[in-house]
Symmetry: C2
Subunit: 203 residues, 2 copies
């Protein structure tokens, strides 16, 4: 019985991976808005119901799964261990550098989220609810850093989303507009200033 | 002869306005990417060639025309005269407040530009070339302010686009994500910090 169950789970996740791969291919080829669950299903020769079974929030949950993949890929637990906490600013630069690297690697996904929000503002609130755990995971390195510098008057609680989405907005512009803010180091200087402004002020 | 020519010009600008109004209607109804010159022409019972005659860079030039309308609407010459230049920060807040108001009024247009850039990164460079004069006009109040405070070590030259598009990215997020950064005053605090960081640093 145990092995049967295990096999079921493996098959499920195999199908989930197949759906994600096809979704990714279509999003890159035609853009997020032009990609439908129906077409993903048709191309994989499965029913739209099967896609919804694996991703019951539909396209938004596909976005969430990408975000998870991107976060796993960062190996944050190791990253947090390897950080050098001598200087607050330098460590913040390292964290923002990793953010930039990840956004660049997953730029199609980043563009997809941005377009989704612009075309359907309501879906943003839904997405934000859906990715609450991922937001916390993404902020783990910053939280560790803030704990190491308790004397700095920085506060993250209640400003998690503001911080992530301000960094995100500027990083997207930099990537999508062809290194818009100059070198990566120039962008990171700007991001450090913005991050500190948000952490300092009572926004 | 003179009156004939004048009549021609009036008719041209009348047609241009008709095209713009129909483009606006379609963009709001179906989104920018789903709006085609062909459909604008069909709805107005004119040929696609007539649309291209009035907007020979096609949809990008329609975007530019919107930008011009939005800028005209701001009545910047009067705004610059009415500003109170007692405090640098307070005057910068007034300028950024006007930016926010304008973005909010023309949010459909703002979303259209953002989607255009995300779906076709190449068209951004083209748009940027096209709207060079409008960027300078939009920056007029800030330029006047900087001249009034020559002792501040701020430099705008060479950083015009960086400044506009950083402000723009954060303002869009605030508007599209439902006052994301808190109150408008909270957003403007953040924008003042970002603007000063860009004007100060050698980005």
């Amino acid at each position: 019985m145990v092995s049967e169950n295990t096999k079921d789970i493996e098959e499920l996740s195999h199908m989930k991976r197949k759906i994600l791969r096809e979704a990714e291919r279509l999003i890159i080829e035609k853009g997020y808005s032009n990609t439908s669950l129906r077409e993903i299903a048709r191309n994989l020769d499965i029913s739209p119901g099967t896609v919804l079974y694996h991703f019951n929030n539909g396209k938004l949950e596909i976005l969430r799964e990408y975000l998870r993949t991107a976060l796993n890929d960062l190996n944050l637990a190791q990253f947090v261990q390897d950080l050098d906490y001598d200087s607050f600013d330098e460590t913040l630069r390292d964290i923002l550098g990793l953010t930039l690297k990840s956004h660049r690697k997953y730029r199609e996904f980043a563009a997809a989220i941005e377009i989704e929000i612009l075309s359907k503002p309501d879906s943003f609130r839904k997405l934000l609810d859906l990715i609450k755990p991922e937001i916390q995971i993404a902020l783990a390195p910053l939280k560790v850093l803030l704990k190491r510098f308790p004397d700095k008057n920085y506060k993250l609680e209640g400003k998690e989303k503001e911080l992530i989405f301000a960094i995100d907005a500027l990083t997207h512009r930099h990537i999508f507009y062809g290194n818009f803010f100059g070198s990566d180091s120039d962008l990171i200087n700007l991001l450090v200033t913005v991050a500190k402004a948000i952490l300092e002020n009572d926004l």
